[in-house]
Assembly symmetry: C2
Homo-oligomer: 335 residues x 2
DNA sequence: TTGTAAGCGTTATCAG
DNA sequence: CTGATAACGCTTACAA
């Protein structure tokens, strides 16, 4: 079924059919009605390939999600889908492995889908520096700051990871904790990992707390299992910390279980603060104290920003969305 | 950049270029080398739209995921991605709202992408009955049984939901629990919800346990928050159950928190069994006893089955993957 | 082994 | 307001 068939069926020409199906002016009401009806009857759908071949671009908005099992991104995608579905643009969501290069992937998808714009959920500066100049479409990097990258088509919406991590650690310090351990991301190769690490260090420095990254910091991946293992390693070599900051909620949850298995109670023996503000944290016993990232707001701002960039060619922006410390049950004042 | 440009550049014709880029025979090694090099140099990529327009089908495998925040599906997608990436087929993952019609969506995507085959993660019989006859490509329905649907191109890979739910409830009964409540899915409109409910009922009947669905069953959605609320409602109207079966781990986790908030300890006061075997269950305190669905195996079988259907035109199959009862810390024998 | 040319289903430009 | 027709970039007979 093509517009040619429709043309034969209705007696109009392909030109008219095309105009009707694309809501263009200069068609008589009669023709429009007849054609729409005929199209409806046989469930006609334009061939997207032909359409895009002709138009040289898809009308779609692309979301590239770095990491397949990232809770935070999953709920952000959910919000984004809801938001974008209110517009006329179809949304394509592309999930990729955490270890692969998101920008190379984007370059390839651009060639393939010619999207109107791209939302990156997660990303690594280095990849952007190396490959982003091949991308022309307006883009928004979400959860990482792009203001230092200086590309003419790359905005960003992110939390202030450094400040947030500092806040988390400060929270522990103010409750009287002096011996604090940290489980975080790779502080060399991941922007997020590095910034959160630096935030911790800033807090330790400011309050004059002793902290030796070699001993008190565990770098690992953002998963339950890795959080668990990291906490075990910490326990093995340092038996007396009373506060633990984990740079993600999943790490925190894994770590808490490791602490429990080692006979430590949370928060009686050890206070734990997470990072992200996932739903699950509110259903643990004890409920997890955490740095809450406002997923809904980040999603809204990102989409808004991208659409502005697409439609009005408004300038770049680098938005920082504030985080909040959610003080719940996994921390306790030190006696 | 098109194959025409490439032709001009290399001195060969578009036909030869196309043959080289598609790995077809009847090209001289010299031509092949020259063309491949030129293509490499300018990072040439075939235009997928033109290609698919011509070929009348994409080479992709499509995964339609019903529900955007379903942990179980998320990890299944991860496995599927790993599996399919070993083949030559690109994988397109499409997430949709739990309440929307997955088959209609598939019909639309077929028109658009002309995929080689489709994997449905989750689905509703009714939607299949109504719309599936419009789909020609081989499909596999994952997590639901399709043997009673009788379509010539629809296989399935699923757990025996009824048996699994029965096993879970039996587990509680054998530990001496006589007063058992159940939090499950919609037993009218969801296949999964209905089957798991029937499994429970079968166990109650077999062991002569009293169970009034009106009082002892709470139908709700598969989320933490809904599990929490459902447990509260149960507590409000029935104060004395000692066993709780939740038809998904997320419901179970929400429910446990509600029990804790009501001053009940798990498992000392109330034993809880979940369903799915999510990673998170193993990191809770207490670790969640649950019916474990082998995600990895379901993914492997589904992909294998679909590829067989695509490549060898092998017959339909309706595979049932066994579940296992994972007995952990959230249950206790009744005194 | 290679080149030529006819479409694939649309859109868009023109003339009517 | 409508119809004819030339692209869009590619694959694939068929001819050379």
């Amino acid at each position: 079924m093509t517009i040619k068939d429709l043309a034969a069926q209705t007696g109009y020409s392909v030109g008219t059919i095309s105009r009707v199906l694309n809501n263009q002016p200069n068609v008589s009401a009669k023709a429009k009605a007849a054609i729409l009806q005929a199209a409806e009857e046989c469930g006609f759908q334009l061939n997207a390939n032909a359409q895009q071949l002709k138009q040289q671009h898809g009308k779609s908005v692309l979301v590239i999600v770095k990491g397949t099992s990232n809770e935070l991104f999953a709920s952000m995608v959910e919000s984004i889908q809801a938001l974008v579905s209110q517009t006329a643009y179809p949304l394509i969501v592309d999930y990729m492995d955490e270890d692969h290069n998101e920008v190379q992937r984007a370059v390839q998808l651009c060639l393939e889908k010619k999207p109107l714009g791209i939302l990156f959920l997660g990303g690594n500066s280095e990849n952007f520096c190396q490959y982003f100049d091949k991308i022309q479409a307006p883009c928004v990097l979400v959860t990482n700051d792009a203001s230092q990258l200086h590309f003419p088509n790359l905005s960003s919406v992110s939390s202030d990871d450094m400040l947030a991590a500092k806040t988390a650690v400060e929270h522990l310090i103010r409750l009287g904790h002096k011996k604090i351990a940290v489980i975080g991301g790779d502080k060399e190769n991941s922007d997020t990992g590095r910034l959160r690490f630096q935030g911790c260090m800033a807090a330790f420095r400011q309050y004059g707390i002793e902290f030796d990254p070699e001993i008190d910091y565990e770098a690992t991946r953002f998963s339950f299992a890795d959080g668990y293992k990291a906490a075990r390693r910490l326990l093995e070599r340092k038996k007396d910390f009373t506060g633990l900051f984990a740079a993600s909620d999943v790490m925190a949850i894994g770590a808490i279980r490791a602490l429990n298995d080692a006979g430590k109670r949370v928060p009686e023996d050890i206070s734990v603060v997470g990072f992200d503000g996932l739903d699950i944290g509110g259903y643990m016993t004890p409920r997890l104290s955490t740095i809450h990232q406002n997923v809904e707001e980040m999603a809204r701002k990102s989409v808004q920003l991208l659409l502005d960039n697409i439609e009005n060619k408004k300038g770049l922006r680098f938005i920082t969305v504030p985080v909040t410390l959610k003080c719940r049950e996994s921390v306790k004042m030190v006696e």
